[in-house]
């Protein structure tokens, strides 16, 4: 626990240091208004990172989240085009995202296919479905209704609804992880599947639940994304799943499962979001942006690995001594 806490402290310090460096060259970046904009920009990443975190905690990975997002977003846009009211579209995309996640979860749970294979496959299928729905056509701003486009941008108490949704998701997931048996099960399943099984916790069902949650968040984010950028097409958010995984890794979510916190995932997403937003402002080329994001991932993994090495070695020695 102390390691985990200090890891998050390190990440928080890194974010503050990053902001300080940026502020020294471009003070306007750290004004409250701009920080709010960065938070809003990063909201999709935060939402997906939360879902991805629950999946990774159970020793799985979901590569289909960005495709899920794009498909749900497209369906939302198509529904809007048919005149369906927003009050129906919102729950519909969440349910649809959850259903797409449930497909992943069922394949992992019932057939025991490795999640990376399952979600690689569904990722392609979900993207392909968008193409089938639209024949590759774009849906542009003028084809979307005004209420549809307005909701994420509506400002309440100084922040757009989009940012508030991310904040609410963080709070709810934080509560769920700390206080619901499912939250505990995520850690138990990832930390030691055998022990979890012995304690009466179903490993497969827990993984299924994580995929459903990740899918639901992706569906919701799909609507927010399309509405905010006011355009929908096949390649929306292509490659975004890697940013999401990167945010989790930077946030200290162990890729082997069983360790990581909501706070870590959020900070990992914010770290990437700040870099993405700041570098163009400071005048650093997009090439450096990718290199810096990549370095951040490697450094985060190195820190995680070093932090975990010691206890493992002690246990191995005892295991040897027993033979």
């Amino acid at each position: 626990m102390t390691i985990l806490k200090s890891r998050e402290a390190i990440l928080a310090l890194a974010i503050l240091a990053l902001l300080a460096v940026i502020a020294s060259r471009f003070p306007a970046f750290v004004t409250p208004g701009n920080l709010a904009r960065v938070l809003t920009d990063t909201s999709p990443l935060i939402l997906l990172a939360l879902g991805q975190m629950t999946v990774i905690l159970t020793k799985c990975i979901d590569l289909s989240v960005a495709a899920n997002l794009a498909l749900c977003g497209m369906v939302a846009a198509l529904m809007d085009g048919m005149g369906v009211p927003l009050a129906v579209i919102l729950p519909a995309v969440i349910v649809m995202g959850a259903a797409l996640g449930a497909v992943n979860g069922l394949l992992v749970w019932k057939l025991g296919i490795p999640s990376i294979v399952v979600t690689l496959g569904t990722m392609t299928i979900y993207r392909g479905t968008i193409f089938l729905l639209t024949n590759g056509a774009w849906i542009n701003a003028h084809q979307l209704s005004d209420p549809f486009k307005a909701l994420p941008r509506m400002v309440v108490l100084g922040l757009p609804i989009m940012a508030w949704i991310a904040v609410a998701a963080v709070a709810l997931l934080g509560l769920a992880v700390a206080r619901l048996p499912l939250g505990r099960a995520l850690y138990a399943v990832g930390g030691n599947p055998h022990a979890a099984g012995y304690a009466g916790i179903s490993v497969g069902r827990t993984q299924f639940a994580a995929f459903v949650l990740a899918g639901a968040l992706a569906g919701l984010t799909g609507y927010l994304w399309i509405a905010r950028y006011a355009v929908a097409y096949v390649d929306i958010a292509r490659g975004f799943e890697l940013d999401v995984v990167a945010a989790c890794v930077i946030g200290g979510i162990a890729i082997a499962g069983g360790a990581g916190t909501v706070g870590g995932a959020v900070m990992g997403a914010l770290f990437l979001g700040i870099i993405k937003n700041a570098l163009p402002v400071v005048g650093i080329s997009p090439f450096w942006q990718m290199a810096i994001s990549g370095s951040a991932i490697l450094i985060a993994i190195a820190v995680n690995t070093l932090g975990r090495r010691d206890p493992g070695r002690i246990i191995l020695k005892q295991a040897e001594a027993r033979t």
Partner: protein, 505 residues
């Protein structure tokens, strides 16, 4: 039998190997002679596997000398032992399923062409030659995954011979073989003997030791006890040497009043793991399950806990028939199982101590679907205190605890479910003496409170010191039940290794 040869090929003198908290080998000696089979005999934990690892260069001894042809040598790694001609055929043969037989035999030392590429033709030819020399009719081009267990064994043996072995170590080679395959293996051992190889044969089965070994060496608790020629010994003497020690630890077994039957198991069978297991467990009783490693004890316990399903048999708890298909049902019926392998099956690393304790009790500590951390803390504190857990805080990650304290957390976890039957699988394996005493003390206290305890243990002093009654298993079946004066080390070992009973049990 051959005459006593003059000089051993390989001899070990005064080998000491210490692991944190355990002296695995304490000044042992071992001589291996050319053209002879030396049987290494000892109980579980006598140091047999450790000496094999020393011989094959996997472990470095802390003290002592290894002599090859009378000259001191050292094996700093597996390669150097192999180069010196020492090769082992392991308990679980380490082979590669997706490679061919020839590739398996020559992995790591394949013949090369003059361009440095692997010379497949030479490799196949030499593999065929070696296979022929051991009388194996296996094609070198066959994929390993298509072979049966006996053929795989032959491949492992061929691999051992492909490096010009002078010393061949066979670690329980017949454990997984059928009768016919065992006969073939014996012939092979004879072939190797004729070729002048020195063979170290590790086995628990006395019949095969007497059949193929020329010499014997006995280890006990990591120490050398004796050696000699098979011709001049008897089963009785070897058993006496294996177990003959004073029970020097004081066991805190308190006499408990044995109550009514709690758990009655009748005719439990499993297609591959065990057959016709029948016993009754009473309240307040500690029932010991003794047997060699792999006798099927843990498998029976896992079926009692709903992890595997028996194909036949009935389970009654306090007279009522219960079906145990899932662990949740078992916990609900009042049975809990503390597994042997804490690392793999017990502790959830990454969760703090108190959350490890409450994992199976969450329905009880939560309300309206929400966890109540305060309740969890209370429960965890209650049970960890009773076990005298040494931890800075219950909020601490369990991975930071020592093995003994992790074991206490795992036991506390199951006690917190308020069971009627508790199954402890090797409860003190790999933990230090102090923690052992605490676990024993607590076990005794549990029985005193009327809990029915099953203790699976491979340590004879522990079994004898703690149990009211002992059931011995061998090769998946019950091999004897002992109470009172019949609970002697000799009787237990006889039943476990399958020597005919000289006295009625």
């Amino acid at each position: 039998m051959q005459a006593e040869p003059t000089a051993p090929v390989l001899s070990l003198r005064g080998i000491v190997k210490t692991f944190p908290g355990v002296k695995a080998l304490d000044g042992v000696r071992l001589d291996l002679f050319p053209g002879q089979v030396t049987a290494l005999i000892g109980e579980n934990g006598a140091g047999k596997s450790t000496i094999v690892k020393v011989l094959t260069g996997i472990y470095q001894p802390d003290e002592g000398q290894i002599m090859l042809d009378g000259r001191p040598v050292s094996f700093p790694g597996a390669q150097s032992a192999q180069k010196a001609g020492v090769t082992a055929i392991h308990q679980e043969t380490v082979l590669f399923d997706e490679l061919t037989v020839a590739e398996n035999i020559f992995i790591g030392h394949a013949p090369r062409t003059r361009w440095g590429l692997i010379d497949r033709r030479a490799m196949r030819a030499r593999a065929a030659e070696i296979l022929r020399s051991i009388g194996a009719s296996i094609s070198p081009a066959a994929r390993l995954r298509d072979l049966g267990i006996a053929s795989r064994h032959l491949v492992a043996i061929a691999r051992a011979l492909s490096v010009d072995a002078r010393v061949v170590i066979m670690d329980e080679p017949t454990a997984a073989l059928s009768h016919k395959e065992i006969a073939e293996l014996y012939e092979l051992v004879e072939t190797l003997k004729r070729q002048g190889k020195a063979i170290l044969f590790i086995s628990h089965k006395f019949d095969e030791i007497f059949r193929i070994a020329d010499r014997w060496t006995v280890f006990r608790d990591g120490a050398f006890v004796g050696e000699g020629a098979m011709a001049g010994t008897s089963e009785a003497e070897l058993v006496r040497l294996m177990v003959g020690r004073s029970v020097d630890q004081i066991y805190p077994k308190r006499p408990a009043t044995i109550g009514a039957p709690v758990l009655t198991i009748a005719g439990y069978s499993h297609p591959t793991e065990f057959e016709d297991i029948t016993f009754t467990l009473h309240a307040g009783e500690i029932l010991g399950f003794y047997g060699l490693v792999g006798a099927g004890r843990s498998e029976v316990m896992q079926s009692l806990f709903g992890i595997t399903r028996p194909s036949k048999g009935a389970c009654r708890i306090e007279g009522q028939v219960r079906v145990l298909r899932t662990t949740a049902q078992a916990v609900d019926a009042g049975i809990v199982y503390v597994p042997e392998d804490r690392g793999a099956q017990g502790a959830v690393k990454g969760l703090p101590i108190f959350q490890n304790v409450t994992l199976p009790s969450l329905p009880r500590t939560s309300r309206a679907g929400f966890l109540r951390l305060a309740e969890e803390f209370k429960l965890a504190r209650e049970y960890t205190q009773r076990l005298d857990l040494r931890a800075a805080s219950l909020d601490q990650n369990i991975a930071l605890l020592s093995g003994g304290n992790q074991q206490k957390v795992v036991i506390a976890k199951w006690l917190a479910t308020k069971p009627r039957v508790i199954i402890l699988d090797e409860p003190t394996k790999g933990i230090d003496i102090g923690s052992k005493a605490a676990v024993h003390d607590f076990m005794s206290e549990l029985a005193g409170q009327g809990l029915a305890v099953i203790m699976v243990s491979s340590e004879i002093p522990e079994v004898l010191g703690m149990s009211d009654r002992v059931i011995v298993m061998r090769e998946g079946r019950l091999a004897g039940e002992f109470t009172g004066a019949a609970m002697t080390p000799e009787n237990l070992v006889r039943a476990a290794v399958g020597i005919s009973q000289q006295e009625a049990a």
